[in-house]
Symmetry: C2
């Protein structure tokens, strides 16, 4: 039994976030334009190569910061791909999916404006309106969305999209966007209140309606379910 003699391991990440557009809140994610073959000029998930001295999840966070400047609030491994026909050369790629809080998107945009570094090669796309993608990244994003929709039913992932304090209506809007259907406000309130994952604050958000109480995530509960190794993976902050 001999060794596999050197395979290149790529790491890439589908960073999902919610953006407020004129069409309402939509799921969207940043893509980077490839500068070299294969698939030059096509859009792809941000990523890079795993180096010899880092863990895969660290490589995902590092390449994410390098290519987009973003630091997600949640990072979880999605799948390891390695079909031989996936690319001309043999590559194994470990794909992660991440959640980004909507306020971090705005902060990043402001940072772009401040530094004048307008990233020509990074652009946000709506998840339901993607361009032609490199490799099989379209399928990968499809799978990431499936995982997200799945998890929103039994975990608190939706809270990973929201800032520290939020109203129940905002949380419900996030869940509605993920699931693609409207939810009854009263029933949603009943469910999330009995789940014990939220802490009520004494602050309220005013607006063209009765003031809505602000909530924050309860600190003890995990954002999603467990991973294989408590040390290596899962929520990074």
């Amino acid at each position: 039994m001999t060794r596999s003699s050197g395979i290149d391991v790529a790491v890439s990440t589908a960073i999902l976030t919610l953006r407020r557009t004129e069409r309402g809140v939509v799921l969207s994610l940043p893509l980077v334009r490839r500068t070299r073959e294969p698939f030059a000029d096509r859009w792809a998930l941000p990523g890079g190569w795993l180096t010899a001295t880092e863990a895969p999840v660290g490589a995902a966070a590092r390449t994410l910061a390098e290519t987009t400047g973003l630091a997600p609030s949640y990072l979880e491994q999605l799948y390891a791909f390695g079909a031989v026909d996936r690319s001309p050369s043999r590559v194994v790629s470990i794909v992660y999916w991440a959640l980004l809080r909507s306020d971090q998107v705005d902060a990043q945009s402001a940072e772009y404006r401040r530094t004048g570094l307008s990233p020509e090669n990074v652009r946000w796309f709506d998840a339901d309106d993607l361009p032609a993608l490199a490799f099989d990244h379209a399928q990968i994003i499809e799978y990431a969305l499936w995982r997200l929709r799945n998890k929103v039913g039994y975990s608190r992932v939706a809270q990973g999209f929201l800032p520290e304090e939020f109203t129940l209506a905002e949380l419900r809007e996030a869940v509605e966007t993920i699931l693609g259907r409207r939810l009854d406000p009263a029933n949603f309130r009943r469910q999330v209140e009995s789940s014990g994952t939220l802490i009520a604050t004494d602050e309220f958000r005013t607006g063209n309606h009765r003031p809505a109480r602000l909530y924050r995530s309860s600190p003890d509960a995990e954002l999603a379910d467990r991973g294989p190794l408590s040390s290596e993976e899962m929520s990074i902050r």
Copy 2:
């Protein structure tokens, strides 16, 4: 941005099955004894190296056959590990988990006896009574068991342990073993009948009791949930 310059990619598999022992039915899995460093003489998950010309899932099935002679009825990717301290040399390992039908275990044992090839380095262990394992394989098996217990609630994975035809009591016994608690026979029947995943046959299993109807899995439903790529992964037969 330069390439990662050659990482060895290992593939290993946790093959779960149900064995009938004097303590009743228990979850168990085969382990192989390592013959070289690191962790020489320790027990480990069967596996091998990914070659340049095969898909990871194919490598999992191949190395499984080579080291244990087993061909599982279900094979799904579990996780890709790659912590730098996982082994002296840098290795990324893609771990799969598999289900083996109990009748296949017996067939394999008979084959061993027939060929006289008693595999000194392969042995079955009960999942709740494992020896000291190489690498972090104990944690990996723990995670595989967690995934199994999780999936048994919303999918038909338990049927992957049973032969083609089985009684509801046998299916219930499999689920009970996975979950580690007893289930009400009548309620279990009601649930599984309304789920539509079984087809009733006209045959019965007799015994020291009223005859029990035999069922088979309905062919249209998948054994578990979807994977990322319909072509590459999931159930292999």
